[in-house]
Amino acid sequence: MNYIMSFIIGGLICVVGQILIDKTKLNNAHILVSFVVSGVILSYLGIYEKVVEIGYSGATIPLVGFGNTLAKGAVEEAAKSGLIGALTGGIKKTSAGVGAAILFGYIVAMVFKPKMK
């Protein structure tokens, strides 16, 4: 059941992105930015948590989930350590993913040759 819901919710979030790409002038970077920011907002409003409950990985793997983690971290740390927590929380909680992207990204870019298009 988790797998089916992951597929459906993950798929639906991607369809929203596809419609935005096809029907508006937004490019990939705009889509990624707006999905992350909407994740932060939806998380703060308490809506995204419910989507994660229904969609499992289908809700956490799209970039909206990245925004959700950012906001959750910021709010949690702010409750713990106040002002400084508000600044560090989101970055702390997403640091594994960002770190991995930088590390793997740099290694792969160094090892491989650019492909001709």
Binding site: C14, V98, I102, Y106
Partner: protein
């Protein structure tokens, strides 16, 4: 042959590849759904091995990012992306792809200002907006409660 503007528009329309939003959306649904399901399967494998749900989620993200970076280096991810559209952009694998692809392309400009700088062509804006909005939300939660 003489062309006026209307005729020209018609010719342009005829030769522009049709952008079928409905078909694209179906592909986006299938590819996006598949990537998320693969993530859920990996997550369950780790959770069965006794790792907590949150940690397993982080491990899944790292594995997906690593795999997508590798596939981008091999030139495979871009081929998948041509069919999958947003289904391959919106998941975290698309973020990893957006980190590697420009870094690879601008390799010739050097290790520092080529590869390292271009890692952040798309990731940079995503992190700026993501981090800033999370800080605002953190501050808001202090002022008016989360």
């Amino acid at each position: 042959m003489k062309y006026n503007e209307k005729k020209y528009d018609k010719v342009v329309k005829k030769h522009t590849p049709k952008n079928n939003c409905f078909v694209n959306s179906i592909y986006a649904f299938i590819f996006g759904g598949t990537i998320c399901t693969i993530g859920e399967i990996i997550k369950n494998l780790f959770m069965n091995a006794g790792i907590s749900s949150e940690e397993a989620g982080t491990i899944v993200l790292i594995i997906l990012i690593g795999t997508s970076a590798l596939l981008t280096g091999l030139g495979v991810y871009d081929k998948i992306g041509k069919v999958g559209g947003a289904g391959t952009i919106v998941p975290i694998t698309g973020f990893a792809n957006s980190v590697v692809a420009p870094a690879l392309e601008f390799k010739t400009e050097g290790f520092v200002l080529g590869t390292a700088a271009k890692l952040f062509t798309i990731a940079g804006p995503v992190l700026v907006f993501g981090y800033c909005s999370s800080m605002i939300v953190g501050l808001l939660s202090l002022i008016i409660g989360g």
